[in-house]
């Protein structure tokens, strides 16, 4: 398809933008960018990780908690909040459709640092029992959606359900081996269940283990898909909580004062 010739006005606009981009300042240099993008990693990673840990952490800590009923629902909700906030911030500031991916990468690094040093080295749990999920793949798609639609409403409505499916889908791949059947003490369990029994968690007894409860189990093979659709609904809600954080806690306060004397 032939490219549409640029109008004079468009050309002029592009030249102005290029001149602005290449403008030399006396004190504003790339160091400011570098310091911002690097130091922001920590607050973004901390915010994303604490949001996931305290809303859905138990299902992320252990392979035997990653069930078809609760895990897809609350994980989708908890993990989309901070990516959404950063999507707004980066889009509002630079028109960068990168906020979700940036957050997901920060979150991924923080989660692995925590799991390796704290769970594995300090507490001796094997990493294949306590590995964290990744949201990077889903975040790339969420950013792509924002880039194509240029609409936060469409990104939330389409991206929320997609987020729930992709977070589950991408992480089901490493989880699948742990869902294989194993014969253990005259019972057929999953490999993940065996890990949960062998590694003693005296402060996470069975009555605290929120997996596959209630009548939804009678849906048999459908449970997973019902949960994913509901997770998608909650992800839309989580997306707008993130938008609230980005819009009103991060951007709105700029140059606003509680009381001007």
């Amino acid at each position: 398809m032939a490219a549409t010739p640029l109008t004079m006005a468009e050309r002029q606009k592009r030249l102005e933008l290029r001149a602005l981009l290449q403008k030399q300042y006396k004190w504003i240099d790339r160091k400011w960018d570098l310091v911002f993008w690097i130091t922001a990693i920590f607050i973004v990673a901390g915010a994303a990780d604490i949001t996931k840990q305290l809303f859905a952490g138990d299902w992320d800590f252990w392979t035997d908690w990653k069930d078809p009923q609760w895990w897809p629902v609350i994980t989708a909700f908890a993990t989309i909040i901070i990516p959404s906030a950063l999507q707004y911030i980066q889009w509002a500031a630079w028109r960068f459709p990168t906020g979700a991916t940036y957050t997901a990468v920060c979150f991924f690094m923080a989660a692995w640092v925590g799991r390796y040093f704290q769970w594995h080295v300090a507490e001796s749990y094997p990493l294949n029992f306590v590995w964290p999920i990744s949201t990077v793949g889903a975040a790339i798609i969420l950013d792509w959606l924002l880039m194509k639609t240029r609409s936060f409403i469409l990104t939330s409505l389409i991206g929320g359900p997609i987020w729930a499916f992709l977070v589950w889908g991408f992480n089901y791949i490493p989880l699948a081996p742990f869902l294989q059947p194993a014969h253990f003490m005259n019972h057929v369990l999953t490999v993940a269940d065996v890990q949960g029994i062998v590694y003693i968690r005296s402060q996470t007894p069975e009555y605290l283990r929120h997996i596959e409860r209630g009548a939804l189990r009678s849906f048999l093979g459908e449970t997973q898909y019902v949960s994913l659709v509901f997770g998608g609904t909650l992800a839309v809600l989580g997306y707008w909580i993130g938008q609230f954080i980005g819009r009103y806690l991060a951007v709105w306060p700029i140059r606003r004062y509680i009381k001007t004397v």
């Binding site: 006396k26 004190w27 504003i28 240099d29 160091k31 400011w32 310091v35 911002f36 690097i38 130091t39 922001a40 920590f42 607050i43 990673a45 901390g46 915010a47 990780d49 604490i50 949001t51 840990q53 305290l54 809303f55 952490g57 138990d58 299902w59 800590f61 609350i74 923080a110 640092v113 925590g114 040093f117 704290q118 769970w119 080295v121 300090a122 507490e123 749990y125 306590v130 968690r201 005296s202 402060q203 996470t204 007894p205 605290l208 929120h210 954080i245 980005g246 806690l249 991060a250 951007v251 709105w252 306060p253 700029i254 140059r255 606003r256 004062y257 509680i258 009381k259 001007t260 004397v261």
Partner: protein, 282 residues
């Protein structure tokens, strides 16, 4: 390349004029405006590494029974040591900030100096970001691993002592210190006559409320559940209060806008009188 500026030399402030080598120092050189970022981050990371190794060495051998002599020796001592260290650091740093801030506030300063001060503010904010990551991600991981594995018999557990009683208050100290710094040194944004900025209000609130939530957490564990279930509702305020730290982005945003104003003023002045120097920021 930055031009040499006419700057009044102030106690404990870095000069922005020519160095002994004759090279003009840009306020945004790594060793000028940003040195606080490197030193501050190094200190926070050193404290974190020390506390991690302390727990790695003593948590299982001395941290399981709060009634034991070993616990008193290794953990109650650590708890009080942390509070005393943090209190001393806060007193010295805030004392210096306020004392020099009174002098600085009455002195004229150049645009280059204001740019350097913004870089220092970003450095303090950057260190606060590192501290918040450590309190919100690094230690909660060990806290989860520890409390889902072992019975608690005190609020001062081996993972709570570094997390709740060092890094939580440290974030308050850093966030409030950043505001005190801006209040006296970046008057165009944070002087008292402007009012209290929402950006810092949210950031400081996040850090303070996180500390207050510690009490609710311990109360909840003593009343409802001594085991660890991370998604339990009385943990949720940790998350909501943490979101308020988004005010940090507003601090970045408003200082960036100020940088553009400074550049514009400099450009206009150079256009009108290229050879003139200035002494007072616009």
């Amino acid at each position: 390349m930055a031009q040499p500026q006419t700057v009044q030399r102030l106690p404990s402030e870095v000069e922005n004029g020519s160095t002994a080598t004759g090279r003009a120092r840009n306020p945004t050189d790594w060793g000028v405006g940003w040195s606080s970022l490197f030193w501050g981050s190094a200190l926070v990371m050193a404290a974190n590494i020390f506390l991690w190794f302390w727990d790695y060495e003593f948590a299982f051998s001395a941290g399981l029974n709060s009634a034991s002599h070993e616990f008193t020796l290794y953990y109650r001592t650590l708890f009080w040591g942390e509070l005393i260290t943090l209190g001393a650091f806060t007193g010295i740093w805030y004392g210096w900030l306020i004392r020099t801030g009174r002098e600085v506030a009455t002195q004229p300063f150049s645009r280059a100096e204001e740019v350097r001060r913004i870089a220092v503010l970003w450095s303090i904010i950057g260190v606060t970001s590192v501290s918040i990551y450590i309190e919100a991600s690094f230690w909660p991981n060990w806290d989860g691993a520890w409390h889902q594995t072992l019975v608690r018999d005190t609020a001062l557990t081996p993972t709570h002592i570094p997390m709740f009683y060092f890094f939580f208050p440290l974030s308050v100290v850093l966030a409030l210190g950043a505001y005190i710094y801006g209040n006296s040194r970046i008057p165009a944004l944070y002087s008292r006559d402007k009012g209290f900025p929402w950006s810092f209000f949210l950031l400081i609130s996040a850090a303070v409320l996180e500390c207050m939530e510690v009490a609710f957490n311990e109360w909840g564990h003593s009343l409802w559940i001594s085991e660890e279930f991370f998604a339990v509702p009385f943990h949720w305020p940790f998350v909501a209060y943490g979101w308020l730290a988004s005010g940090m982005f507003a601090v970045w945003g408003e200082t960036i806008l100020r940088l553009y104003e400074i550049e514009k003023a400099e450009e206009e002045e150079n256009t009108q009188a290229p050879s003139q120097t200035h002494a007072v920021a616009d």
